[in-house]
């Protein structure tokens, strides 16, 4: 899965899996985890992490040294990612977050560029057009987490570069870029 993925040297040091108590050390530790998590998610196309996903995500547990992250620790990491724009909580209770190795503004720019290049502006599209159909030009959207894509659209709507067409009960029917 991650053949080319390079594990950091502290991956095998047990204290890496214990949330440090002293502030300076903890900041450094969280920083390392941020970089590590983003890099891993990018390499493995992971876009959604729940605090209970310790067992699902290989970097969150190390069986060799028998250490794993606690849900509290994972929440700390996701929270810190959210602060720098690389994650967004999907719920108030901070259980699940979408991971954006490209931040949402980056995604918005990327998307704008894409639709401009493909001359797809001003025509309505559905989510399926972007997420399920194979777009050979850029596989970046295919399989993208829907909630992340919606976040990007919402962001673009805020910028005035996207119009959302909502059906009854507020369900998104389609959208077009302007």
């Amino acid at each position: 899965m991650a053949q080319t993925f390079e594990y950091p040297s502290f991956y095998h040091l047990p204290p890496f899996y214990t949330l440090q108590e002293v502030i300076a050390t903890k900041q450094k530790q969280i920083g390392l985890w941020q970089e590590f998590t983003i890099r891993y998610c990018k390499a493995n196309k992971i876009q959604r992490i729940s605090v209970n996903d310790c067992d699902k995500i290989p970097i969150f547990h190390n069986d060799t040294i028998q250490r794993k992250l606690s849900p509290i620790f994972i929440r700390e990491i996701l929270d810190s990612l959210a602060k720098i724009g690389n994650a967004k909580w999907l719920d108030e209770t901070k259980t699940t977050a979408i991971i954006t190795w490209r931040t949402i503004p980056d995604w918005a720019n990327f998307l704008s560029q894409y639709v401009t290049d493909k001359q797809m502006k001003n025509t309505p599209h559905t989510l399926n057009d972007f997420l399920n159909r194979e777009i050979s030009a850029d596989p970046g959207f295919v399989g993208m987490d829907q909630s992340l894509f919606l976040e990007v659209l919402q962001y673009m709507k805020g910028k005035g570069t996207c119009v959302l067409m909502e059906g009854p009960e507020g369900k998104l029917m389609g959208f077009k870029f302007v």
């Binding site: 047990p14 204290p15 899996y17 214990t18 300076a24 050390t25 530790q29």
Partner: protein, 390 residues
């Protein structure tokens, strides 16, 4: 075998070193002692010296195998004079451990009879003396005086008299206790002397010697400094006494201990002349001015410790960190108990030093189910990261 002290006998002058208030009563040559009433080994040839408090068995050829048996430890003895075989005295006595033992004194020629008679006299005399001393310490046992009899109450004068006698009796108790303590101390000192003589012949290893001397030190302070004995120099004298006692103890126990532990150790050594915590704090403040190389300092957590000059908080933290950087068979990561054992300090202190190191970003932690292991802080120190991943 019998008493703790080995008697000191000079074969040239035939003089026996006597204890206080002890006098020599009678001497018999060439007796044999055994634990069997019928047989004995002729090699066990002793000279018996009876004194007012001991029966001393001297071996002139092997003085260090000489023994002394305190008369007070003899429970019973029996003189058997046999017409056709040798006579013997059967002595039943207590051992230091509290159990009883029997030994037999044999002799070919006469003399046992006289020894038996003299022993009887001395034992009787000791018993009388003991009874007399006990009688003097017994509290007058007449509480009935305080009861109301026939409606008559006790007069104030009588009550006061009774009180005085009770008070006097109480202090008699303490006197006899102190007497006992002095004897015990004498015994310990005797033992130290014996040991120091044996040391010259180097039969005892250096570590045993050190162990014993520290043990002897912990037995107590011979004449503790008191306000009465030291007067205005009380605190200075106390300071010196504290340093004298604690220095070897600290040197053995990692160079540092909590002030509370030191207070307990010191007061235990003082026996009954306890000092207050306040006195201790005052006397520890004098260390620098008296050029005593001990210091008391407070750790960040507020715990006060007393330590050798070379074992301050910074030094202890350095030692802790250096230890965490040593690799063991199973890799790195040490618990509080590991550090306490390595530095030979209490786990309370080891924890303090570890937390202090952590606070200074020198080390980090690894929490496993039931324990916390500490590692050098590789998050912030690249050299430690290289060390741990090498």
């Amino acid at each position: 075998m019998f008493g703790l002290s080995v008697p000191r006998f000079d074969p040239k002058t035939q003089a026996l070193e006597l204890e206080e208030n002890e006098r020599r009563v009678f001497t018999v040559d060439s007796v044999y002692i055994s634990e069997d009433k019928k047989s004995y080994d002729k090699a066990n040839n002793f000279k018996v010296i009876l004194t007012s408090s001991r029966v001393v068995f001297v071996r002139e050829d092997e003085l260090n195998r000489s023994l002394s048996l305190y008369i007070d430890m003899i429970i019973d003895y029996l003189f058997k004079q046999k017409a056709f075989s040798k006579s013997y005295i059967q002595v039943t006595h207590t051992l230091v451990s509290g159990s009883n033992a029997t030994l037999f004194i044999h002799q070919k020629s006469k003399g046992l009879n006289e020894l038996s008679e003299k022993l009887k006299e001395e034992k009787l005399r000791r018993a009388k003396a003991l009874a007399a001393s006990q009688a003097s310490t017994t509290i007058p046992d007449e509480p009935t005086k305080f009861e109301f009899k026939g409606g008559k109450s006790l007069s104030a004068q009588q009550a006061e008299d009774h009180l005085k006698s009770v008070v006097a009796g109480s202090f008699d108790d303490i006197d006899s206790l102190m007497q006992g303590a002095r004897e015990l101390l004498g015994l310990a000192q005797d033992y130290t002397r014996v040991l120091s003589r044996n040391l010259d012949t180097s039969q005892i290893s250096q570590s045993e010697k050190e162990d014993y001397l520290v043990f002897a030190n912990e037995l107590g302070i011979d004449s503790a400094v008191t306000r009465e004995s030291a007067g205005t120099d009380y605190e200075k004298e106390l300071s010196r006494e504290f340093a004298t006692l604690m220095f070897p103890i600290l040197e053995r126990s990692g160079g540092t201990m909590t002030l509370v532990d030191a207070y307990a150790t010191y007061n235990r050594a003082r026996g009954i002349n306890l000092i207050s915590p306040d006195d201790l704090i005052k006397c520890t403040k004098l260390f620098p001015s008296l050029n005593i190389s001990l210091r008391v300092s407070s750790l960040k957590s507020g715990v006060s410790v007393v330590h050798l000059l070379s074992h301050g908080e910074e030094q202890m933290k350095e030692k802790t960190l250096a230890y965490l950087r040593t690799k063991k068979e199973t890799g790195f990561g040490y618990s509080i108990l590991d550090v306490a054992a390595h530095l030979n300090i209490s786990s309370v202190l080891a924890k303090q030093y570890l937390l202090s190191c952590e606070e200074n970003n020198l080390i980090c932690r690894d929490e496993v189910s039931d324990t916390t292991l500490f590692y050098p802080n590789f998050f912030l120190n690249k050299a430690d990261l290289a060390l741990l991943t090498s």
